[in-house]
């Protein structure tokens, strides 16, 4: 279900690093030998076997990251991102697998379009990439896509991300049919009649600045509806980019009641609140919008306790001239692949709000589990999906050019702590 271009398998020995794999229960100073892309040995001392030796004193070696929510803008907006540039950005961010959303032009709603993407990924992708296909044709919310053929062609899951499935009846049919393909539905939960015209969270900041509000309840009523339907149909659902406290509570209740539901949160929703909108900077405009401090704290709690199993960047590249406009005229979305680890390490782990182990788990094993992908791990016999981190290095976002074709980062100009030194993805050295 994941595709990458053909590269030679790595023959590397990594020495001196603190190996940290929470899911495997490893936190020790160990050496790792990789033979032709596969981890051959993890031990206190391994033979170099004439492999290239990476001296990693003072660094952390961990399972590489999995991003379940990325927009690669291909086909249609190759000026904003391509498979090559988006996967290069992912490699630089420490990712060994990313999942691309189908809201492209044309929409990924047919086996032909999906097949062309798979072929392109085999030629261009620096890290393994998987594709979601649309729930409805053209994401118009009217007719189901041919999910069976799409699953056979390689669709990892189904999503109309970017637009909600407005009809409850159609959502029910989608849940019923998707179950026959053993694929989850990844849901963009938004009640359009409540969010319409809204640019920022409906709260004090919107009221003072005069922005039309996009209230929390526009998300949470849709989450409630879809979780109720998923429970009724015994479907498997994943709630994308959770932003509101009430949505998180709904997810928690549904999971406790046995609904097969998971959820993700983005770095920007975990770090920022709608207060950031006072800058009027179009790079803090995204859907769902940044919300209140209480929402942010609830997301953080849910991330800690596992109600939210995955961190997703919702990497959404936009052309510079489209963001260089007044806030209301700007499109929704920010980039995130190249900054996620550093942003969360700096703003959550550094101040003691989240443990490094939990962060690593939610960026890797969590999302892999949700979508049935092989869990990146530091263990003999596993494919080398590893990231080498320098958690002391400081860097300023935007000083070096982005590998992404777009630079609409909410962190432009910020100094962050924590940097990716090297990424092994699919057994290949994808970044160093």
């Amino acid at each position: 279900m994941l595709w990458q271009k053909d590269l030679p398998g790595a023959n590397v020995v990594i020495r001196g690093a603190r190996v940290l794999d929470p899911a495997e229960g490893i936190d020790a100073r160990l050496e790792v030998r990789i033979d032709d892309g596969t981890i051959a040995e993890v031990a206190e001392r391994v033979d170099a076997n004439e492999h290239r030796v990476v001296e990693a004193e003072g660094l952390v070696l961990a399972p590489a990251f999995v991003d379940p929510h990325v927009h690669l803008r291909t086909p249609g907006r190759e000026d904003e991102e391509t498979l090559a540039s988006g996967t290069a950005a992912a490699a630089a961010g420490g990712y060994c697998a990313i999942l691309a959303m189908p809201n492209t032009d044309p929409v990924v709603d047919s086996a032909a379009t999906l097949g062309a993407l798979v072929d392109a990924a085999r030629r261009e992708a620096e890290v393994p990439v998987g594709f979601l296909a649309a729930i409805t044709r053209g994401q118009r919310g009217e007719e189901l896509t041919e999910m069976g053929e799409l699953a056979d062609t390689g669709a990892v899951a189904f999503s109309d991300d970017g637009v909600p499935v407005a009809s409850a009846g159609l959502m029910r049919r989608a849940l019923q049919y998707a179950s026959s393909t053993d694929r989850a539905l990844a849901l963009h939960c938004e009640e359009p009649t409540l969010s319409r015209g809204g640019h920022v969270h409906e709260g004090r900041v919107a009221a003072e600045l005069g922005f039309a509000g996009y209230p929390s309840v526009a998300e949470s009523v849709a989450v409630e509806r879809d979780l109720a339907l998923a429970g009724y149909e015994r479907g498997r659902v994943h709630v994308l980019h959770l932003s509101a406290a009430a949505s998180v509570e709904a997810l928690r209740r549904a999971r406790e009641a046995g609904v097969a539901a998971s959820g993700e949160a983005t770095p920007h929703h975990l770090v920022l609140t709608d207060d950031a909108v006072r800058s009027l900077d179009p790079n803090v405009k995204m859907n769902p919008p940044l919300r209140a401090e209480q929402d942010r704290l609830t997301l953080l709690d849910a991330l800690r306790d596992g109600t939210i199993e995955a961190i997703a960047t919702d990497h959404a590249p936009h052309a510079a001239h489209e963001k260089d406009v007044p806030f209301e005229a700007a499109p929704f979305g920010v980039t995130g692949l190249e900054t996620a680890l550093a942003a969360l390490y700096t703003h959550l782990v550094g101040p003691g709000l989240l443990s490094l182990e939990t962060l690593l788990e939610r960026m890797s094993a969590g999302p892999a589990r949700i979508f049935g992908l092989e869990r990146p791990r530091v263990a003999a016999g596993a494919c080398a999906n590893l990231v080498l981190l320098d958690l002391e290095r400081e860097w300023t976002v935007g000083e070096q050019p982005f590998r992404s074709r777009s630079g609409n980062s909410w962190l432009l100009g910020s100094t962050l702590t924590g940097a990716v030194q090297m990424t092994l993805a699919g057994g290949k050295v994808a970044f160093e």
Binding site: E202, G203, R204, A206, A207, E208, L209, G210, F211, A212, G213, V271, L272, T273, D275, A276, R278, S279, L280, D281, N283, V284, H321, D324, V325, P326, F327, E328, A329, H347, L348, P351, L353, W410, L411, L412, G413, S414
Partner: protein, 325 residues
Amino acid sequence: MIRLVTDDLRPPTPRKRHLLSVADLTRDDVDRLLGTARTFAASLERHVKKLPTLKGHLVVNLFYESSTRTSSSFELAAKRLSADTLTVKSAGSSVDKGESLKDTALTLGAYDPDVIVIRHPQIGSPQLVAQVTDAHVVNAGDGKHQHPTQALLDLYTLREELGELEGVHVAIVGDVLHSRVARSLLQAFALVGVRATLVGPPALLPRELPAEATTDIEAIRDADVVYVLRMQNERMEPGANFVPSLREYTARWGITPERLRPGQKVMHPGPMNRGVEIDPRVADSPDSLITRQVRSGLVVRMAVLYDVLTGGPVGVQALAAAEVA
């Protein structure tokens, strides 16, 4: 505590003096601007009304929305101060051809204007112009966000009428949700100690604004001044359902002589919908300050142009020196 990156995202401190939002003003700024406006008002009493103060300066008026009061008073204010003026309206300009605001601002910026006065339907447009040009930027209304010179001219009008503003009570009535005037006024009132009460239909009163709010029109009785907002027809499109009908709005929230106490002052930023939010008898009554607001607009905008360009209070001596020059 986590350190939010908000600060880092803000544009760098502007080198130039701009008037983008009432939120950027201090009490001292307001006192200085209103004092300058009064000095200019005195100068307009003279036979020759033109002052040479801003001779050689270029003021560009860039208007993306229709406007009578604001555009005419900015233009006249600049002319009364001897500045050159250039007015660009979106209709008939390259905006019609799809030119972005940034490119239009860069184009006009190439003429080295000293001030760009901008009105635009989108929030934050003046900030964008301030970022990409070297001009001093004055916000003449950006979407539902801010209209700072309106708030200043309203303070000026109130001060001329009532004297001390501290403790004055103003009821703001109508469509607060879509009103940049109401937002700017609330901030300006907070600076000078005016108490504000918002009155209007529930869907048009944002809950989170820092002011008392009520749907009960009777609440205007306690106020010294009733400030009537324009009921915008575009908000009344079928399906919007902010209120069931204009007829019902007028019946429940329209300002009629019967709803006012004798001597209660009435203001309106214009343009008025007579017979909708305001009864014509109220608009034309001796207690209406509406024409005075328009007059205040001229001198306050003269003061704003002078202030952003010179950065200081205008004293009698400064004026006299300018006249000699």
